[in-house]
Each structure stands twice: as structure tokens, then as C-alpha cells.
């Protein structure tokens, strides 16, 4: 297989081979960060714009560091400072960015499909850093990379994703990627946040945590956004933690060597207790380390391919 795409928009678009290709590429980029010189000239002379129309610290920092380690030149734009506030359309804004001869746009936007829309209208490459509840491909890739690194495979593993599935781009991207690589995926959480309709894409839905965790090789505890509480999706964070939080007692349902994951930032003692987040099964910080390698790989691939 050879890489030919100029954009990374969603894992839904990619074949299992393409996903594996990104993971394999990321293995080599992970080593770059472990060297004496943590930098390669792969994107030397290229300019990357980080355009975050929705606030982000972790993802933006990870992308920025990945770009620096590839020797790209970087411009950061945030919505507060952009002319979107002055009434310019999104397309006009990105066309103006492209007119400055940039090579790649990394964008986060609250509207699902925003990156696919601009990618169709720009000749430079586009990387999706999160679009609403739709997709967050680099997050899912780093989760899948971490699982593959620890377990040696994806096919046949039981992966349970717990939390606010309906609003989660992390869940959707993980589901698409994991299914394409042959994992068995269960999604679990309060019935308000885990609609049965998800079963139509090939995952098991569950509203009982014990049942969802039984025999799992991997559990990914999604962050609960407190504003969902006021919107009535769950009564209180205390009740959420009581029914859907991962704690010492509930670890017994998982396989003994199961991986505990979280995309961060963690609400300690809500999604999972501190001792589990810091415990031997947790790979939460390794996800962060691997995120850098995945972003280097993705930027290299879409940045180096002929446009």
C-alpha cells in the first residue's frame, strides 16, 4: 500500500489498510522523540496553520509540537482573534489563509463536516482536529495505536467505551477505526447518552456497566462534560460516578491485564477513581505520548504527498 490522501478528515473514510499504514508510520515517528535530536526535516519549508475555531489546549499543543518536530513553520489562529467574529464566512477565512501559500491547515471546529467542506474547496491539505460530535481521527488513532502497542493486535479484542457516546467525536472515531480493524466494540453509559441506534453500525450497546465491562480487554472512559447535567442527560455527577464510574471493585469484571484509557482531561472520581487512573492498568499518559507520534505521522503523510 502507498499513501495518496492530501487530507485526514475521518476514520470513516479510511480503509483498514490505511489505518494500519498510519499506525506503522507512527511507530517510526515515535522513535524520533526518543532520540538525542528530536527533530527531522520532513516538513522543512512547509507552513502549517493551526486554526482552532473551538478552544483546545491539549490537542493544539500536541499538533504544534508534532509540527515543530517535523521542522514545519507554524502559525496559530484562534477564533477569538479571527475575522469570523467580524462576519467573514468560514470559507473566506480559509481561502485567505490559503492565499498566504500555506501547505496544511489543522482545524478544529464545532460544526460537524466543517473540515470536509473546506478540504473540498482548498488545494492545500486539511487535518481534522475535531469537528463537533462527529470525528476526532487523531485521538482515535492514538488510542488504537496504544492498544496495538500493548496488545500486539486489534482484531478480536473486546473494547468497551463508556460515557457520553451520543455527543462524543472520540467515541465515533474509535468505533469506526476499531471496527475496521476487527475489534468487538461495546458502548455503555446512561440510556440518554447511549442510544440503541448505535447497534446499526455494528457495536453492542449497554446501560449496565458490569455487563459492559465483563471480559473486556480495553476500557476507554470518556470525559463527562458537566454542562450535560444541566441539559438533563444525567441527574448529577455523583449519580453518574455511582453507576458508570470505574473503581477498584469494578476492575474485577475486566480481564486482569485490561488497559484503562481516557482521552483526558480526567475528572478524578467521576469517570474513574484516582487509584485506577494512576494504577498499573492505566495507559492514559502513554496515550498522550503516542498522540504526538500519530500527529507526526499524519502530518508527514498528508504534508509530503504531492498535491
Amino acid at each position: 500500500m502507498q499513501w495518496t490522501r492530501k487530507d485526514l478528515l475521518s476514520l470513516y473514510d479510511l480503509s483498514g489498510d490505511e489505518i494500519t499504514y498510519i499506525l506503522d508510520t507512527a511507530e517510526e515517528f515515535k522513535k524520533v522523540s526518543e532520540r538525542r535530536v528530536k527533530k527531522v526535516p520532513a516538513l522543512r519549508g512547509k507552513t502549517v496553520v493551526n486554526f482552532f475555531v473551538e478552544p483546545s489546549t491539549r490537542t493544539r499543543v500536541s499538533f504544534e509540537l508534532a509540527e515543530q518536530r517535523l521542522s514545519a513553520d507554524i502559525v496559530n489562529m484562534q477564533a477569538q482573534a479571527s475575522s469570523l467574529l467580524k462576519g467573514e464566512t468560514l470559507l473566506d477565512t480559509v481561502k485567505n489563509i490559503e492565499a498566504l501559500q500555506v501547505d496544511l491547515v489543522v482545524m478544529r471546529h464545532s460544526a460537524p463536516g466543517a473540515q470536509a467542506f473546506i478540504a473540498r474547496n482548498l488545494s492545500c491539505g486539511v487535518v481534522n482536529a475535531g469537528d463537533g460530535a462527529h470525528s476526532h481521527p487523531t485521538q482515535a488513532l492514538m488510542d488504537i495505536f496504544t492498544i496495538r502497542e500493548k496488545k500486539g493486535r486489534i482484531a478480536g479484542l473486546n473494547v468497551t467505551i463508556v460515557g457520553d457516546i451520543i455527543h462524543s467525536r472520540v467515541a465515533r472515531s474509535n468505533i469506526w477505526g476499531l471496527l475496521k480493524l476487527g475489534a468487538n466494540v461495546t458502548v455503555a453509559g446512561p440510556a440518554t447518552m447511549v442510544p440503541r441506534e448505535f447497534e446499526s453500525i455494528g457495536v453492542r450497546t449497554c446501560t449496565n456497566l458490569a455487563e459492559a465491562l465483563e471480559g473486556a480487554d480495553v476500557v476507554n472512559m470518556l470525559r463527562i462534560q458537566r454542562e450535560r447535567q444541566t441539559a438533563g442527560f444525567f441527574p448529577s455527577t455523583g449519580e453518574y460516578a455511582k453507576f458508570f464510574g470505574l473503581n477498584h471493585d469494578r476492575m474485577k469484571y475486566l480481564k486482569p491485564d485490561a488497559l484503562v484509557m481516557h482521552p483526558g482531561p480526567i475528572n478524578r472520581d467521576i469517570e474513574l477513581t484516582g487509584d485506577i487512573a494512576d494504577g498499573p492498568n492505566s495507559v492514559i499518559l502513554e496515550q498522550v505520548t503516542n498522540g504526538l507520534a500519530i500527529r507526526m505521522a499524519v502530518l508527514y503523510l498528508v504534508g509530503c504527498v504531492k498535491k
Binding site: M1, K31, L43
Partner: protein
């Protein structure tokens, strides 16, 4: 059909050239036991370096450190290729500082791969010296880069490619071939 590979050198001659390379490399590395290393450049430099290593071990009983290098991240034609091949494993399992390193590639053509390999290798440290060993020298470098150890020399037209095949390669019988290969 002018794209049918033409055999330039058969397996026996090729193996003899590998043995000569190993012998010459052995002479340079022998006075510095423990300081020498072979680094093969992907793709065909790696199996070549493995063969040189095997001959060194068999004939002189010593084994230098061994590494592999992929130069994809250091290429000078970024953005000019519509398909990107998979990056292969770079493995430098020894301290590069103060080493005597023999870079190994199958064919020296433009010299651009070697330029990239020198950048890649020196990002790992500061070797005492780096020498270049190639099985085939085409004698037409675009950069001021020459090999220190040369198995054989072939002059072929610019739109031809010299292909080195080992017995472990899937695409046909071992030997060195000349293929018409228009530059893309």
C-alpha cells in the same frame, strides 16, 4: 519490449563482489575492535549489509555493530511524490558517538540518498568517521559524494535503473539487472 530487465551480473559474480567488499571493510574495521558498525540503508542496503556482516563473521570472526536506516524523513523531494511508500524501520541499537560507521547501500546513483542518510545518521550522534560501501557505482553522482568501497561499476543511461536482487527477494532470480525506468 525494452523494459525487460537485462542481466548485468549473475549471482555468483555478485556474491564474489560482496565478499570483496567485506574483505576491504574488514581491513578498515579490524584495527578498531568494538568501534565499528555497519548501517544498511533501506531497502536493498539492508540485506547487502547483512551479507557483508555474515562474510565478516565467517572470514575474520568479528562482528561489528549493526543498524538499519530509512531516509524517508530526510528526503529532498518532499511534495513531489503522489504516493508515499511505507517508512521502514530505523534501528540504531548502539551509541553512534565516536564510532567508525560503514554506510551500506546497493547502488550509488545520484548521491541524494547518501546525503539524506548522512543527515539522518548524524542526528543520532557524532561518529568518528563515516565511510560508504556500495555494491554498484553508476559513476554519475549529482552531488559531490563518492563511495569508499565499491563492488563493481556499471554505466547505464540516465533513464535506466540498476536493480540488485538477492535470493531472498520475491521478484525473480538473484543478480544485478538493468531496467529501462523513465524518471517520474
Amino acid at each position: 519490449m525494452d523494459n525487460i530487465p537485462e542481466l548485468l551480473c549473475d549471482e555468483r559474480e555478485m556474491n564474489a563482489a560482496v565478499e570483496r567488499l567485506a574483505e576491504d571493510i574488514g581491513k578498515v574495521l579490524a584495527p578498531h575492535p568494538g568501534d565499528g558498525a555497519l548501517v544498511g540503508i533501506h531497502q536493498q542496503g539492508v540485506p547487502l549489509a547483512e551479507r557483508i556482516n555474515a562474510v565478516l563473521k565467517e572470514k575474520s570472526g568479528f562482528e561489528p555493530d549493526f543498524g538499519t536506516l530509512d531516509i524517508s524523513m530526510y528526503r529532498d523531494d518532499i511534495g513531489n511524490r503522489s504516493r508515499l511508500p511505507l517508512i521502514r524501520e530505523t534501528r540504531i541499537p548502539f551509541d553512534v558517538n565516536d564510532k567508525l560507521i560503514i554506510l551500506v547501500d546497493d547502488v550509488l546513483s545520484s548521491g541524494r540518498t547518501i546525503r539524506a542518510a548522512l543527515d539522518a545518521l548524524t542526528d543520532y550522534g557524532r561518529p568518528r568517521l563515516i565511510r560508504l560501501a556500495v555494491l554498484v557505482d553508476r559513476g554519475e553522482p549529482e552531488f559531490p559524494i563518492r563511495a569508499d568501497f565499491i563492488g563493481m561499476k556499471f554505466a547505464v543511461p540516465p533513464d535506466h535503473k540498476i536493480q540488485v536482487r538477492f535470493e531472498t527477494d520475491p521478484d525473480g532470480s538473484p543478480g544485478i539487472y538493468d531496467i529501462k525506468w523513465p524518471k517520474r
